[in-house]
Symmetry: C2
Amino acid sequence: MATIRVPDEVPSPAQDSETLNKAFRGWGTDEKAIIRVLGKRNESQRKRIRESYREIYGKDLIDDLSSELSGDFKKAVILWTKDPAERDARFAYKVLNEKKKTTEKLKIVVEIACTSSPNHLIAVRKAYCSLYDSSLEEHIASSVPFPLAKLLVTLATSFRYDKEKVDKEVATIEAGMLHEAITKKQLDHDHVLYIIGTRSIYQLRATFAAYKQSYGNTLDKDVDGCPGDADLRSLLQMVILCIEFPEKHFAKVVHDSIEGFGTDEDSLTRAIVMRAEIDLMKVRGEYFNMYNSSMDNAIIGDVSGDYKDFLMTLLGSKI
Amino acid sequence: MATIRVPDEVPSPAQDSETLNKAFRGWGTDEKAIIRVLGKRNESQRKRIRESYREIYGKDLIDDLSSELSGDFKKAVILWTKDPAERDARFAYKVLNEKKKTTEKLKIVVEIACTSSPNHLIAVRKAYCSLYDSSLEEHIASSVPFPLAKLLVTLATSFRYDKEKVDKEVATIEAGMLHEAITKKQLDHDHVLYIIGTRSIYQLRATFAAYKQSYGNTLDKDVDGCPGDADLRSLLQMVILCIEFPEKHFAKVVHDSIEGFGTDEDSLTRAIVMRAEIDLMKVRGEYFNMYNSSMDNAIIGDVSGDYKDFLMTLLGSKI
């Protein structure tokens, strides 16, 4: 369930382009108009606006947004306006291109690989090859240390079956295989890798349920208690969370980004922009369940100005 | 370089559908008309004929071909007329669904994974998910023994960068990593798997050349001499051949299928149908280089009737 609110009557892409271009012209920029237009258009509408803007003004809308806006507001509007597959390819590249790839950063690759639809993930890989001189998996395999690279390549190259069909017998057997790997302290065992990396989301949820039923603890808890490579453990726990409860994962990202001193605007923007058209309504519900407070109020209390107004628009408020 | 000959003036899909339908009607079937139409149309033209046939006659062209034709001719015409991604998904499924998956059979999965364009391989995986209750990689991981499964999953899930850009320094380094794995008798080493499975075809060809330059032997030869799992060795050699010289691989498939007593029509058909629009002209040249005889004559000497005429049409003869 998305949070963005597309009006019942949407102006044509040409009209929207004109409103945007007008907002850029003259002294100062009309940020409110930009929020009103782009914050209330879905993916395909934004795509048509980009195309129409280029046709009418012979310029790239993203370039104009980039020169007219600033700060976190600018970053958020641009990420929202970009083609989502290109956006996610750039997120992944930024992480993989860093000299020091911390596990925290690599989690963004897990997030993209495990919370995207199979078709979106393929689109991200195509965008990656178009933007950079490398495939996504090639960049992972050649720049991330093993065994983390193995896990990430398997996740990033998956094209999971996406229907809700589940084989309970397979779920029980594979829960047993996961348990055996944990008992033997082999989190990087091929069985772990290929069960987690190739089975459908629905099948894996059944496997996780079978695991709890057979062995008492959740898989996440047993992975947490398994000795060995702390980074692999941490990534695997994130994989489990993203597959089982993507909404909880994103609620956590939002919460962590505004918790404590200062705000991690990049993470906050990423979570809101990535999920506003997918399941941000559920993320909001999970946030309330997990932290017993309103996600919207927490964001409002932490950010300000046009950036706040834009995020609130994506969250469906009637600003 | 393709071998099929599309006429300068191609009838409309509706006209072609009518010719085909007429060939099915009445007593007997006009096989020559079927060969003349379908054997001289490219992929997108055949697609439009399938669509047009359904619109006009409310029936599936493949179903009608299936009930009107017989034997190897029928199999070849149907494989040629089907959507190529669906065709290859069915080839892979047939292998993976067999109880006894011999290495010889698994080579068909290697062939599809290593000689397809990146976009075609993705299309095959999409078709696989649509046709069967499983993804291609899931089926491999859950039904093929390790370490063969690891190699096949990595190959089948690749989306290789497809531009000719090569990093010679990387080629030298990775040739060294391959050599080290062979020296240590570890053909299933992660480095082997991820170099072979994620690098671009052009980069790998440079790596193979660097290998020969640095270590004297070809990589293929050293893999051949490496002790250990004979099946893995055999699959890896096939991977190297398919990546370095896909034309030689297909020339070998054609040669093996007609060599000795009897003919392996399924393999012969598969090779011709898969490559007629891609590089069958080069395959013909390689066949001559490798066996010092004409591929066309060898095929003509080994098969007969409409099947022969159809293969010859795909090979560009003016029958």
